[in-house]
Amino acid sequence: MSLRIIVLLAVLTGTIGSPRPEADSADMKAHPNSVPETAEKTKSFVQEVLVVEKAEENVMATGELNVNHYPARRAAQVVQHYLNTRYGSPYRLLQVDKVHRGNAEDVADSGRKYKLEISVMDFISNITDKCSAEILFPRGEQQRSPQVQALCEEPLKINTKAQEEALYQQYKMNSSLLSAQYLPDSYGHIEPDMKPFWHLSIVAASFIMLNESSEDTLYNVAQVANITQLATENDQLKFDCHVLLHEMVSQEIIHWKLLFTWSPPDGVKVLQMEQLPHRHEGEKPPNTN
């Protein structure tokens, strides 16, 4: 009987209660080096401006660039836009895959020159290609477009001639003119038939993105709001297109209207481009309830 009590008590003790472990919290509290919050709040506006300028200067790295950091990434994006203006088509669109090496230096009186070794990927075929490029971002009173020279190993590796010709013939012969909105739609969806025109609009927009780029921007096409085919008397297909560009650094959406032509032998030619004003919502917002 007493043995049973002993066993019972032992078992009971074993299942109840154990010490409260001290959480290893010592190194989670404010480290002696961390900047206390209050110090930041008291900085004056003037000081803030100085800090901003100094920060930007620090960031203008010269010499060998870190391939993961943004200066190389932004310069590579400019090369992407350049390559798409030259090689892009309804069936070929390139995007930066990786920056392998990068170098930047100031060029007296003209600007800043970047030299990059990058890989680009055709996001339709998923084939990658290696390119070396030089980008000159001009300095001066006028904001001029960057100048790019690029050489890729096999830019036209995937033969898209047959598909392009078929698309061209289909829309040249068609009595009704193409019209499409919101490529992709809000859910990221694009009808398969419309994909070539989404690609074509991005190629045309690449001319704008190339022109508008600087060391302080990173452009992508966010959406094609509208693409409308126009009748022509010549052998080109002609389109009027409204694109929404996303500029990463400011996080702005910038609207552009474009008039461009395309044919398989001539590629994309932009006839007119016009930035649409930043839309301020003077009117009442749509009923969201």
């Binding site: 007493s2 009590i5 002993i6 008590l9 032992a10 009971l12 003790t13 074993g14 209660g17 154990s18 010490p19 409260r20 472990p21 001290e22 959480a23 290893d24 190194d27 480290h31 080096n33 961390s34 900047v35 919050e37 930041e40 803030e48 800090v51 901003v52 100094k54 920060a55 620090n58 960031v59 993961n68 950091h69 943004y70 990434r73 995007q95 909105q181 919101y182 992709p184 739609d185 809000s186 859910y187 990221g188 969806h189 992508n220 966010a222 959406q223 929404l244 996303h246 990463m248 400011s250 996080q251 702005e252 959406i253 930043h278 301020h280 919502e281 917002p285 749509p286 009923n287 969201t288």
Partner: protein, 380 residues
């Protein structure tokens, strides 16, 4: 005889009422469980659907999930979180993991991920011993959508899809709505990468925490700061894991550890579908900026604070196709779990377990000795 019949009738009626009450509460439990099983996590959901889903998840998993409304948006809507946690059998103080999604309205993959994250935990904790242990030690607070007004606005029509900010009314003299909530937090507010123009997409508001959505997070997390181990804020796009600080001149005290934990997460993420995620501070790999929630969290002392920028790298940007929701969420889950597991192991399993078992054995011996002496004493 008659009183007996009446008693039987009353008892029978009572039993009938009781069983029907039980059945309805049981059926709403079953209904909630079923509806969360049939919820399509590979589709984008409207705010109404997300609110309903949160109710269903809570009702269907009462032992794991509870909810809380911790603030209201500018337009007066609930800011709701789900709290995932199990009772700690040892009754110790629970530590906190914070996950929020949808600070920026157009980044639809982020709320999709928060829902996925909850679903994964709910579906696997019963069969995953490690996860179960972590949920006994940690409470995981998940806010599927912080910027509810902005998110609803992006669903209004095709032209509103790319809205980023909140929906606060224009300040005097302006016609532009909204504040960039991720520039409104009290962390070097207004210094870098932010605009004072209310029409700009990175407008930081009129003062730190002036926006109710940001204030709600700061108040709620602020009350739990001593228990909070990890703060994850989910965004898109770019495939980046951003560490504090957004100010280029300030370094987090645990910078090296933040890098190694971030890199480990990126490795786990790449294993899932081959997608690369770059790890670094915002001024290194994206752009300098201040007033972000991630910076605020690190500044008040939460040791592990990261911004996840999910897919993609520019092909679709914020308009990520629905067929990519599942793979994007799978890799993000692997990354988030990697960081949460590290933080858990560092806090709970680094030095406590061996001591606990030694203590337990000592207690058992002591109480056995006491019991013996008592009983023999009694016997005598």
């Amino acid at each position: 005889m008659e009183t007996k019949t009446i008693t039987v009738w009353i008892l029978g009626l009572f039993q009938l009422i009781l069983s029907s009450v039980l059945e309805t509460s049981n059926s709403s439990f079953v209904e909630s469980l079923e509806s969360t099983q049939s919820y399509d996590y590979s589709k984008y959901h409207s705010m109404d659907e997300i609110y309903r889903w949160m109710q269903d998840v809570e009702r269907g998993n009462p032992e794991l999930v509870s909810s809380a409304v911790y603030g209201h948006t500018y337009e007066g809507r609930n800011i709701t979180l789900l709290k995932l946690g199990l009772e700690d059998p040892e009754g110790r103080e629970k530590k906190v993991i914070w996950v929020d999604c949808g600070i920026h309205a157009r980044e639809w993959i982020a709320p999709a991920f928060c829902q996925w994250f909850v679903k994964e935990i709910v579906n696997s904790y019963k069969t995953n011993k490690k996860l179960e242990q972590m949920l006994q030690n940690l409470d995981v607070y998940v806010t599927p959508v912080i910027n509810v007004d902005g998110y609803i606005f992006t669903w209004a029509n095709d032209s509103t899809r790319l809205w980023r900010k909140s929906r606060s009314t224009p300040p005097a003299g302006s016609s532009c709505y909204g504040v960039d909530l991720n520039r409104n937090f009290n962390a070097n507010w207004g210094m870098v990468g932010v605009s004072f123009d209310s029409c700009a997409n990175n407008y930081g508001g009129k003062s730190p925490g002036s926006e109710p959505e940001a204030k709600a997070v700061m108040d709620f997390v602020g009350r739990m700061v001593n228990q909070t181990l990890c703060f994850l804020t989910i965004h898109s796009a770019g495939q980046l894991i951003l560490m504090p600080y957004g100010h280029p001149e300030i370094s987090a005290p645990n910078y090296d550890e933040l890098v190694s934990v971030g890199e480990a997460a990126a490795v786990k993420m790449k294993k899932v579908h081959g997608m690369g995620y770059t790890v670094g501070t915002s001024p290194q790999i994206l752009y300098p900026n201040t007033g972000s929630s991630r910076d605020w969290a690190r500044l008040i002392g939460i040791p592990f604070s990261y911004t996840f920028e999910l897919r993609d790298k520019g092909e679709f940007s914020h308009l990520l196709p629905e067929e990519q929701i599942q793979p994007a969420c799978e890799e993000a889950y692997a990354g988030a779990l990697s960081i949460i597991t590290y933080v858990h192991e560092k806090t709970f399993n680094s030095s406590t377990l061996p001591n606990a078992s030694v203590f337990r054995v000592a207690m058992m011996i002591w109480s056995t000795v006491m019991a013996v002496s008592l009983t023999t004493g009694v016997m005598m």
